[in-house]
């Protein structure tokens, strides 16, 4: 009792202590359920293919192929799959189970195939049936290798489970994603350290189990232990049904995985909570535009804040247009017709791409615009986010418009790490967002887009029309937010969260207190 109290009090005294416990628990449950499913599929499958050599190639090849798919791609793919897909814990568990399959199938198969053939022949020669041979000889002799497979799969799963946060699966990845998007090392560690401990703990425990089960004798105790573990695992598996969110009078608001998005999500959430009787569930930090769009389309989330320019080019795949009103009109109409999504009025500010350099460079070279910068870029290194590099309205068009050339091929970087890299002179120019709170703090400046290359990016709430029809109070509640937030206010809130490390909910609450509607 005292020790537990001591640990708890210490844990709560370190930053994020309570949430670390919660997320660690989530993480453990994710991994345990995924492993239970993977074991109950992988091991029988591994056994079956020892009996069917032709099938073995196909199954092992398939499991191998799954393993090579990047985890974010699997999560993205699962969003539009019914029943097992969407966002939240279920698709996260499905993806984790898929990844755990290969080591389980392969080790079971190899373990059994590599048993000394004379032993198998002795068994057959003495008149053991195939089933008796399997359960009394092959599985016990392959057990060490099978458990080694479980061990590898578990450790891999603990790592991959951090990515589950990208689709709202919770777990310690929540800290890591939030930490990366806010350039907060402490937050990253709050996710990474417990996750490393879980991996180490799982490895130690399974290593012990491996040794214990492969030592001779004590079969009764071994069966007892395996029985207890099986009961625990089954209990967890049943617990999966408890994870399915009950579809009550709850509205789910999503957001992409950067600070401004989380703040905007929280603004929508608090506004709905304040003006209606609905409960709001928050599924923030989803892994990017595509995941949010798919999720709101299928109703996994009911709404989130999108940017008109992004909607036009990334979702509707149209060429960039510079007239903000025209962009809004096209997006609103296409969303309504193609996706049954309602695009609400702009929240008032624009978050456009911003080409950012260090203030000292800008002052030394006396440059303010992108056209002026173009003559210096051949000596500079650039760092861009993946989206910016890939999108038509991103780097390729920008380079053409201004004739930009760089010392090296621009480096692909995470949004959250980019500013730090710029401040630490690892790169000399990055593409950020105009509302980023870090820009003033890290002594950076935004270059003026003097040729008006970037299309308008007005922030607009996007909602699922079924939800709006069902809960008619939502639309009027959010109508008040039209034109409500200025770019400066947004930058300020971003700064509060990113640099003052204040909780999003608190910053948003303060904003509403200062700006009642």
């Amino acid at each position: 009792m005292n020790i537990v109290d001591l640990i708890l009090s210490n844990l709560f005294s370190i930053p994020y202590g309570g949430e670390i416990l919660l997320r660690t628990g989530e993480h453990l449950i994710l991994v345990a359920i995924a492993m239970t499913i993977a074991i109950s599929i992988g091991i029988p499958l591994g056994i079956v293919i020892t009996r069917k050599p032709k099938l073995a190639k196909v199954v092992l090849g398939l499991a191998n192929a799954i393993q090579t798919i990047p985890s974010l791609a699997i999560f993205g793919f699962l969003i539009s799959v019914p029943f097992i897909g969407g966002i939240g814990k279920v698709p996260a568990i499905v993806a984790l189970s898929l990844y755990a399959l290969l080591p389980l199938i392969r080790n079971t198969y190899t373990g059994i195939i590599n048993i000394d053939p004379t032993i198998r022949e002795a068994g057959r020669g003495m008149g053991m049936t195939d089933t008796q041979l399997l359960f009394q000889v092959e599985i016990p002799l392959a057990l060490g290798i099978i458990i080694a497979g479980i061990r590898i799969a578990t450790v891999i799963s603990v790592g991959i489970a951090t990515i589950a946060a990208a689709i709202g699966g919770g777990g310690l990845g929540v800290f890591i994603f939030r930490g990366i998007s806010t350039v907060n090392t402490q937050l990253i560690l709050a996710g990474a350290i417990p996750s490393a401990f879980i991996a180490l703990g799982a490895d130690l425990f399974l290593g012990w189990l491996e040794r214990y089960l492969t030592q001779p004798g004590q079969s009764k105790q071994k069966y007892f232990l395996l029985g207890v573990l099986a009961v625990l695992m089954t209990g967890l598996l049943l617990g999966i049904f408890g994870l399915q969110n009950p579809q009550t009078e709850t509205i789910t608001i999503g957001s992409k995985n950067f600070t401004e998005q989380v703040i905007l999500g929280e603004i929508l959430a608090q506004q709905i909570e304040a003006k209606t009787d609905l409960k709001v569930e928050r599924q923030f930090n989803l892994g990017g535009t595509f995941i949010c769009h798919e999720a709101v389309k299928v109703g996994q989330i009911d709404g989130y804040v999108e940017y008109t320019g992004t909607a036009l080019t990334a979702i509707l795949k149209q060429k960039p247009i510079t007239d903000p009103k025209k962009v809004y009109r096209i997006v609103k109409q296409a969303y309504d017709e193609d996706f049954q999504l309602t695009v609400m009025n702009s929240l008032g500010f624009e978050n456009t791409f911003a080409i950012v350099i260090r203030r000292e460079d800008a002052q030394n070279l006396n440059i303010k615009t992108l056209s002026q910068a173009a003559q210096y870029t051949p000596q500079w290194r650039a760092g861009f986010g993946y989206e910016f590099l890939a999108r038509k309205d991103g780097y390729p068009g920008l380079a053409k418009t201004y004739g930009l050339k760089f010392k090296n091929t621009p480096q692909q970087m995470d949004l959250g790490l980019m500013y730090k890299a710029l401040a630490q002179k690892q790169v000399d120019l990055v593409a950020g967002n105009s509302t980023d709170g870090l820009i003033p703090v890290l002594k950076l400046v935004v270059l003026e887009d003097d040729k008006k290359y970037f299309p308008p990016y007005e922030a607009v709430p996007v909602f699922n029309q079924e939800t709006l029809a069902k809960y008619r109070e939502i639309e009027p509640a959010l109508a008040n937010l039209a034109g409500f937030i200025t770019a400066e206010q947004m930058q300020q809130m971003n700064y509060e969260v990113d640099n003052q490390l204040r909780p999003v909910a608190e910053v948003v609450k303060e904003f509403f207190t200062k700006n009642p509607n």
Partner: protein, 255 residues
Amino acid sequence: MAKSPKLLQDKEIVVEFQDVSYGVGANNLLFDLNLTISKGEFLVLLGRSGSGKTTTLKLINHLVIPTAGKVIVHGRATEDWDPIQLRRSIGYVIQEIGLFPHFTVEENVGLVPSLEGWKPKTLKRRVYELLDLVGLEPGKFAPRYPHQLSGGQRQRVGVARALAIDPPILLMDEPFGGLDPITRWEIQQQLRHLQAQLGKTVIFVTHDIQEAFLLATKVSLISEGKLVLEGTPTQFKRSQHPEARRFMACCQISQ
């Protein structure tokens, strides 16, 4: 009444090969094998490595299925037997012994009886009896694992395991290959007595002619998949068949 069937049984045919051939694909390993083994006989299949002796043995317990001809065990072709039942009525000791490394000596020896659903008490009594029979002190050896035994002890356990449910036929595939000469001689002696005492029909594979002469009541010489000579050890010694002469030559050198 007790005596007359016994006399008849002496000539009872237990295993019979009828024009048996066996091959994998186009590659024939055994050609037109004809062989009869009577009850109580100790038949040694003698031949060089790769001559087809082991395959011949595996045809008897249906581990290998003839591509032509029939193997008849207890009056029924092996194909008509339930292979599990057939194998449980035949004791089997193989080259590498094939003891289960995760089973104790007791569990290894008691395997077939336990598959047959024997009660634990009867089973234990039988295991102890068998260990006694092969000259291993039951109290000492029953709880050991195969890796805790010497080569000779392992062989004895292998023999005990094959005898567990008292099968009328015993198949032995070079069981004493890896033993030192003295242990080997001891265990050969023991097997001979055991066979005489229990009246088992034994089919024994070896490439060691001295072992063959020591144990056999009948020697069958197999060369390149064909049965080339069949007879008592005395008949074998007198044979002019070139393969038999070669085997005899080795025998003389080593003496």
